[in-house]
């Protein structure tokens, strides 16, 4: 299955990329997506995750065509 991964703000700068496109075989969680996209980098503690623009926990399962996003705590308003 195909998963699009997006990064924002300071996390995007730290990683040096704004997105990845990954292929998975079998069941994968949001945490698996991070590990596959960033094998050398531990997910920073306060990172928030979203699937298809809704907040999710890291153990949430992803499906083919999902857009997974990782970003730091939000600071708008």
């Amino acid at each position: 299955m195909s998963i699009k991964v997006r990064y924002f703000a300071s996390l995007k700068e730290n990683i040096g990329r704004s997105e990845d496109n990954l292929e998975f075989f079998g069941l994968a969680t949001v945490a698996d997506v991070w590990r596959a996209a960033n094998p050398d980098k531990v997910l920073p503690d306060n990172t928030l995750a979203a699937v298809n623009m809704d907040y999710v926990e890291l153990n949430g399962v992803v499906n083919d065509g999902d857009e997974v996003a990782f970003f730091p705590p939000v600071t708008g308003g």
Binding site: M53, D54, V74, T75, G76, G77
Partner: protein, 152 residues
């Protein structure tokens, strides 16, 4: 209900006036309007700030804001809501956010606008990067708690 993201400066007062004027169906129905405007300061955490860049996640921002407004509308009898938010390069004294809530009675207007604003601060995917007078850049790490005394 209207939620808009602006890449250019906006005039919150003109927006409120135009929106209230255009929303004919609420004429005569509302008795209270609560307005919150967040404006960029030229100082933060003891440093002089000369500008800011606001990044957002297009699509998710609108989706989360719509959800927040829907939650507020379930909890309070809200007649209408206007939420505007800036993105891009912002200068001190420019408005960042507007939350306007129209209700029949003032308590609901105050409570719903506070709820929307606090939820926006913790859930709407925006990120501020400050440009200091010293030319240093820094990402804001987290928002202050709006319910603590003396916070902003």
């Amino acid at each position: 209900m209207n939620i808009k993201i602006y890449a250019k400066p906006f005039d919150p007062w003109a927006e409120i006036q135009a929106y209230q004027h255009s929303a004919q169906d609420m004429a005569g129905k509302f008795g209270a309007t609560s307005i919150f405007i967040g404006t960029m300061r030229d100082f933060n955490e003891g440093d002089d700030v000369k500008g800011m860049t606001l990044e957002h996640y297009p699509g998710m921002t609108e989706k989360q804001l719509a959800k927040i407004v829907a939650e507020a509308s379930q909890q309070w009898p809200v007649i209408d809501v206007l939420v505007l938010h800036r993105v891009g390069d912002i200068l001190p004294n420019e408005p960042i956010v507007l939350v306007a809530v129209w209700t029949s009675h003032r308590g609901d207007a105050f409570d719903a606008s506070r709820y929307i604003m606090e939820a926006l601060k913790s859930r709407a995917p925006f990120w501020k990067k400050e440009l200091l007078k010293s030319q240093a850049e820094r990402w804001l790490v987290k928002n202050t708690d709006g319910y603590l005394a003396g916070s902003s």
